[in-house]
Amino acid sequence: MLFLLQDGITNGAIYALLGLALVLVFAVTRVILIPQGEFVTYGGLSYAMLATGQVPGTVRLAVAMGLVAFGLDLFVARKSLRLRQVARSAALNIAFPGALLALTYSLAGPRTPIAVNIALALLIVAAIGLFLYRIAFQPIAHTSVLVLLIASVGCHLALQGLGLVFFGAEGLRGPVLSNAALTVGPLRFTGQSIAVYGLTVAFIVGLWLFFGFTLMGKALRATAVNRLGARLVGIRTTLSGQIAFLLASTIGAISGILIVPITTLYYDTGFLIGLKGFIAAIIGGLVSYPLTAVAAILVGIVEAFSSFYASNFKEVIVFTLILPVLVLRSLAAPAVDEEKD
């Protein structure tokens, strides 16, 4: 019983991280980030490949996306090209992923320290997240939640397909972060699971502090509520979106790196993991961080117990979990809300 609970909490903590990222992106950009799961697989599998001394294809994707983003920047600003602007765009979209590519090729090898591999995987996925916003979402940032959602599904399809190209159909596992273990009573805590708990708590507290107490965090929230209003008071809404995606992809990659030593990741695993984070995020109403974290742990526990008692119907049970939540949400939903599109 207890080990099921422990297993559930460990998985739940991962879902919580993803749920937090989803809430973050939705709160700032109104994008329901289906590709969050791809950030997980990209992060985890890039790390696993780096650990075997190979260069993951994701770094080339980052460079390619950077080029497209640069092209878009040039195209949008074609009427009023200024050197400083072009230089800044080139630095972000070309020099940064280019340097990453060079770094990865020069550092990758069988004896590269784990920390370097983690840093590289994180940077690669962060860059992909950043460029994804620039390419896919920034041009349609003003449209309805629905259009953004459909675009998000499109990104998921493309990224998952690319995942197959980069990592193949075989699953991969990565090396653990630490071999330390701790026994408390009947339970054995591995260093890995302690890292999972620690990082989850750190992120929840960090996000809470960031959004509640910093000017940047407040600016991001203002963007979510009213883009035009935020722009009028001098908030750069595109920057807010980029920051949100940067944070989300980093969180996704961290989750991936945390779980790849525990379970074998396949190129399409991320989607399901991300969706479970979703269920948590929906329970949290896509706005509340603490509620999302609690819900995610609940999802993890339900999953652990149902995989033990009714393993065939594990996914059915987890995904049906959402229905009672939706019923409650719809009962509590405000009667008056007008769609604006």
Binding site: A158, I282, I322
Partner: protein
């Protein structure tokens, strides 16, 4: 008949294709697949494009249709024709159960919910013993008529495309009706539709079931076409693809679904057969291209291909003019009581700590024009929303002809004969003026969805449209009757709202800033119209900022300031009331 001509030509064309010598059998298979996808996408057009409810879970309803017939024909030996109604019924019942839970969800909760149960059902299909788990069910008998067994793609072709054409016809009939207008109004929010008696949750459930039944039909055909059913084609990926088809074709258009299905199925085929040549043997490359195409399409042509094509047609499809000789019977009235027409007693509305309306009381008598005035933020529109049931009161009572209506839903209020316009115009911009105004007469018709689909509603429909046309003529917009409401100026849109409100045959008309955006002459015409309505027995309660207009027109004026009534009286008395002058011009004046 001329409206049906393109459909007849299309049907004839599709009927001829299999007989053209030299058509590769492979093309027929593609056309079969296009037809199957078009059926599901058509449901999505209604659900997503028209009704504004996005569903990623339609593939699961195909699964219900396919598995129902698979189980019943293989395990119980039922005839496929017998399982058709059962397949549709099972999909429909599944839709009722899921719909009751999901359609009430607002905005983005709905698509998220559909993703979740779409995946849940996929796993259920693949784990249940009697559905054959992951292997599914094979050996499903083919469809047959007499001795003709539809074993080959070119025989079942006819079954599939007859289903597509009939569904398209029924769907278009449904959209062009009283129920259809209610569905089309859903996407623009509930408030306006509910103010004219549309039961929006019911309308949403209706489209949800309709889309599910179409998907079930597609699943039933699929099962007998493939003669096997397994979980893969009913998973989340397929659900996403159906939505993609609807978006590509043009999510608001029935024929967009067919066009989109054609484009996507063919594109997929081409990608699957040529991409491996270009990039080597990697599978799933088509999903990458698919995803990228979807994102670029949303950025470049968010409305889809069909409307883009239609805009390039050299002619515009004409429409029938309503027959002016038809009339609607006036609506049954609530029995008249000696009390005032509208009686507001101590109405209060608090939003948290803000008191928007503070114990306001006033009456409106029969044959009277009452104006509600006050500075911005005085609570005028909130008072309107309390009377019409859009908002619930915190305390106090509101009654119409002696019937209490505080906290009654908007649909009940309009039944008592209170109709309204909105400060922020709430028309459906991509519907014509006539169709928008006809929504106002929603409660005066009674044809339902089924009778509309089979065109049994035509006499009822003709009367509704005639009434709408008469009200449009009455407010002086006869020249714009066939224009899209979104193309009119804001002032004209306000007038369209008045026509819509008049269509409900009200005894009390609530107008929220009707003269805003009108020119001087137009204001005078509006005032004349309102006087004429009053003399005909109607009462009017209006909010307006144009003092000249109000003083000239109103029999009585109620003045609000910061949610509180500060004065009430004839225009003459209000003009000289010191409190009113203070509220408008400040203390120093």
């Amino acid at each position: 008949m001329t409206q049906r001509l393109p459909l007849v030509i299309f049907a004839a064309l599709m009927a001829v294709i299999p007989f053209v010598p030299g058509v590769p059998p492979f093309w027929i298979v593609l056309l079969d697949n296009i037809g199957l996808a078009a059926l599901v996408a058509m449901g999505l057009v209604l659900l997503t494009g028209v009704g504004g409810l996005t569903s990623f879970g339609q593939a699961a309803f195909c699964g219900f249709g396919a598995y129902t017939t698979a189980v019943l024909t293989t395990a119980y030996g039922l005839s496929p024709w017998l399982t058709l109604p059962l397949s549709l019924l099972v999909s429909g019942i599944a839709a009722v159960l899921l719909g009751l839970v999901t359609v009430r969800l607002s905005g983005h909760y709905l698509p998220l919910g559909t993703i979740a149960w779409g995946i849940g059902l996929f796993y259920l299909f693949s784990k249940l013993e009697f559905l054959g788990r992951n292997d599914g069910i094979s050996g499903i008998p083919p469809l047959s008529i007499g001795s003709l067994k539809m074993l080959r793609p070119d025989t079942i072709y006819f079954a599939i495309w007859i289903a597509v054409l009939i569904s398209a016809l029924l769907t278009m009939n449904l959209l062009d009706s009283r129920t259809g207008r209610a569905i089309r109004a859903l996407r623009r929010g509930h408030i306006a539709a509910e103010a004219f008696g549309v039961q929006t949750p019911r309308a949403k459930l209706l489209v949800f079931i309709y889309a599910a039944v179409l998907a079930g039909l597609s699943g039933w055909l699929y099962a007998h076409f493939q003669r096997a059913a397994n979980p893969t084609p009913f998973g989340a990926q397929a659900g996403i693809e159906y939505l993609f088809i609807a978006v590509v074709g043009g999510a608001g258009y029935v024929w967009g679904a067919v066009l989109g299905a054609g484009l996507v199925v063919i594109l997929k085929e081409i990608l699957q057969s040529y991409l491996p040549y270009i990039f080597g043997g990697q599978s799933q490359l088509e999903t990458i291209v698919f995803g990228i195409l979807l994102v670029s399409l949303l950025q470049l042509a968010p409305t889809g291909v069909w409307p883009w094509l239609m805009a390039r047609l050299p002619f515009t499809p004409g429409r029938k003019q309503p027959d002016p000789s038809l009339t609607l019977p006036p609506r049954a009235r609530a029995p008249a009581t000696p009390s005032a027409l509208l009686h507001v007693e101590g109405a209060r509305k608090q939003f948290g700590g803000v008191i928007a309306v503070n114990d306001v009381s006033f009456d409106v008598q029969a044959r009277e024009i009452v104006a509600l005035i006050g500075p911005n933020g005085a609570g005028k529109s909130t008072t309107f929303n309390l009377i019409t049931g859009v908002l619930t009161t915190t305390s106090g009572t509101i009654s119409v002809l002696g019937n209490k209506v505080d906290n009654a839903p908007p649909q009940e209020v309009v039944k008592l004969g209170v109709s309204r316009t909105f400060q922020h115009v709430k028309l459906v911009p991509d519907m014509t003026v006539l169709e928008n105004v006809a929504i106002g007469a929603h409660l005066r018709g009674n044809s339902g969805a089924i009778s509309s689909m089979f065109r049994l509603d035509r006499t009822d429909e003709a009367r509704l449209l005639a009434e709408a046309a008469r009200q449009i003529e009455r407010v002086g917009l006869g020249g714009q009757i066939d224009q899209l409401a979104g193309s009119l100026s804001l002032g004209q849109q306000r007038i369209v709202e008045i026509a819509r409100a008049l269509c409900a045959d009200p005894i009390l008309l609530l107008l929220d800033e009707p003269a805003a955006g009108l020119r001087h002459m137009e204001k005078q015409r509006l005032a004349a119209l309102l006087r004429q309505l009053r003399d005909g027995g109607m009462s009017v309660l209006l909010v307006e900022h144009d003092m000249g207009f109000v003083m000239d027109l109103a029999d009585r004026i109620v003045v609000l300031d910061f949610g509180t009534k500060i004065a009430e009286g004839t225009p003459g008395a209000i003009k000289t009331n010191p409190d009113v002058i203070k509220a408008y011009l400040g203390a120093a004046a």
